[in-house]
Symmetry: C2
Subunit: 429 residues, 2 copies
């Protein structure tokens, strides 16, 4: 806090509040970092039990949020995300128990290597420290994020959407109870209890207390946080994902994968937004695919060559290559071949997930190596971009950062490594 | 570049210049990323050859810098760092060949794991992209940094100290020749050829073109860069390293290691700055150590208990615990035992390197786990904190960041990983 500055009292109070939350998180982080795996797992299972026991209270709190949401005319999509029901509450508890069942990454050692000097050098996986999670309307993130941070030995500071504040506070009570029951301090997971947006600004600049910020939500939220944060941010902004159907594609696979990559779900970041097709096969696959997309009600926006093959397509503009629709719209471009496809993806993509459909190993090797995305795929749907599908057991988000962690982020992404050096009174000459 | 803004022409020219350097680096990064290991190694060996061939030209350029340095009254320490001689030039070439001999991390794949859906998931190690290195007077960093960036498949933008500009340009000619000779674009390594400080500001905010900034130099430089950069920075600010002599220390090891950790070299970041001694052994080890330090001309600043054992010690103030002397000065504190030592280190340390001297496995286990530093050591001198000593083969710096890479940074720290997913036309249900 910068005392002595002419700031409004309430703003000053928020700074003080975040500072106090941060200080308590920092202290708790030292404790949770050294808590044995079994104790962390007991806490997680205890939290799951408390959630099931408190179903009525959580639903009641959620009803207040839903009522308020309807009053302020939240969209039906937002209301759906906000709504809890017994199934969703049970799913939160199940998720928490699943995290308890995952292997604990903390304390893992690489093999020691003995150096000529006599020292033995290895690396140990350790928690990051304090993780700030900033999210929007889904209350289940409160439990998901808390459980992953805890399991990886971190203290968590949670800042949920203002529209979900009552639901989140009811869930936080369960987390507190679960932690207390196994003798852990409730400071391990703290929910920011003000809906003032200034609290977000204070949190993302609290670099003395917070080691990393993970925003989960829409592009507006993430852009604001990335711009204003002085704490490092693990983020993904866009998922402008591509499927490239190569000259040497198996056409059945191509059609199956391209259709699934778009049509399975539009609204997830791993959904294909642009289909690239090699010129030599476009006349065979595009007409078939466009009929399938049309039946599903998906609007196609094509380049000139695409439209010469499928005249019903709308005309794509330059802007379409850079757009994440998250909707029943798909951009389509016919390319010369692999080189142009890679160029297009590296120019217009968002380094999220891109897939090549090919039977040609040299082409897939080049695509894997040269496409600069967090996930590159061969003959698989981009909709697989997901921590559960990758076997991480859970996911706190998908990173399009290049540093630290890329792609779906599980427990390991919430840790770091330190060098461990063991000697026998060894001195350096 | 923000055109249309009322900025000075020269400032605008610098922005344009950095933009052009950045664009060329981005293009070169795509090429060097896919360059086979043998070609990268040939380039590195060719650069080494060119350096040896151009010894006279490099020395001549260095003489201009040295002459200018004396005119502007650089300190003798700075002049020593700036000075090149045939031995130092040969060492640059040797270093370059050593990097060529290191294993190439790029393209390494983790084993694929087959998931229930049928997809196979693995991770591939890939270059970061464009790396900006900002350094001070030592011209050898030009070759060191270039060779490590190249080997890890990255394009490099080098910004050396203005006092070394002629030396650096002469070395850059050798790098260009080496790259050209094996058919690589000279844009893979670009030296900023203006000494204007505004170029640094432009470089560290060029997030479209630069993936990471690595500053190498004094605290002032690194603080400025950390504060102003929008590109992620791999940095270490301070090396406030501790040796803690535990109750259960072997006293001979304790004295040997503590002496070496301070006295071998004062000016390196791995030098011990504070010695912590458990009260139960302080009366035996401190008098011996203080005599050794006194013989070496090292000034001791102690807490009250230390001074009761060694009355010649000066009085330490609170500030001493937070000071990186890099000089013949050592702070000394007697602590109750392990808990207070860990608390002291986590409070006053700089997360760099800290060592415990003990024969007690439970104590060393706790120290390893609970001290939050990039390197934690047992019975070894903190002066081992070094990429060569750890077996990285080379080092571009030491990171006290928690994210991405911690401790000595070698080739692997200059890379990242991406997920590779292989299916057989696999779609997500």
């Amino acid at each position: 806090m910068q005392s002595g500055q002419a700031i409004k009292l309430d703003a000053m109070d928020i700074e003080k509040y975040i500072q106090s939350v941060g200080e308590r998180a920092r202290t708790a982080a030292c404790l949770i970092a050294k808590t044995p795996t079994d104790d962390k797992n007991s806490a997680l299972r205890s939290i799951a039990d408390r959630i099931m026991e408190n179903e009525v209270a959580i639903l009641k709190a959620n009803q207040i949020d839903m009522q308020h949401g309807r009053e302020i005319n939240l969209t039906s999509a937002l209301l759906d995300r906000l709504e809890l029901n017994p199934e969703r509450i049970a799913a939160m508890a199940v998720g928490c128990r699943q995290v308890a069942d995952l292997p604990d990454p903390v304390g893992e050692m690489t093999p020691f290597e003995t150096r000529p000097s006599g020292i033995k050098v290895g690396k140990m996986r350790v928690p990051l420290g304090v993780i700030g999670i900033i999210y929007e309307s889904r209350p289940n993130v409160t439990v998901d994020a808390a459980s992953l941070c805890l399991k990886a030995g971190n203290a968590a500071i949670l800042r949920g959407g203002s529209e979900a504040i009552n639901s989140n506070m009811a869930i936080a009570v369960c987390i507190d109870q679960g932690l207390s029951q196994v003798g852990l301090t409730t400071d391990c997971v703290q929910l920011i209890e003000t809906t003032d947006r200034a609290a977000v600004g204070a949190l993302i600049t609290a670099s003395d207390y917070v080691d990393i910020i993970i925003p989960r939500g829409g592009k507006g939220l993430i852009e604001r946080i990335s711009r204003e944060a002085s704490v490092p941010v693990i983020k993904h902004l866009d998922g402008i994902c591509h499927v490239y159907i190569d000259d040497d594609a198996d056409e059945t696979k191509a059609i199956d994968v391209a259709f699934n990559a778009k049509a399975r779900r539009y609204g997830i970041c791993g959904a294909m937004e642009t289909l690239l097709v090699a010129e030599s096969v476009a006349h065979r696959v595009l007409p078939v695919l466009s009929r399938q997309f049309a039946e599903k009600g998906i609007e196609l926006r094509g380049c000139e060559k695409s439209r010469s093959l499928v005249p019903e397509m709308l005309e794509a503009t330059e802007q379409d290559w850079d757009t994440e629709y998250l909707d029943a719209v798909l951009a389509v471009r016919v390319v010369d071949g692999l080189d142009q496809a890679i160029d297009h993806i590296n120019k217009h993509g968002s380094n999220h997930t891109d897939s090549i459909i090919t039977e040609n190993q040299a082409h897939s090797d080049r695509f894997i190596r040269e496409v600069d995305s967090s996930s590159v795929m061969v003959n698989a749907s981009t909709q697989f971009a997901d921590g559960f599908e990758y076997g991480l057991g859970a996911e706190i988000g998908i990173s399009t950062n290049k540093l630290h962690v890329r792609g779906p982020v599980g427990l390991e992404g919430l840790t770091t490594q330190k060098y461990v050096v063991v000697g026998e009174g060894t001195i350096r000459e």
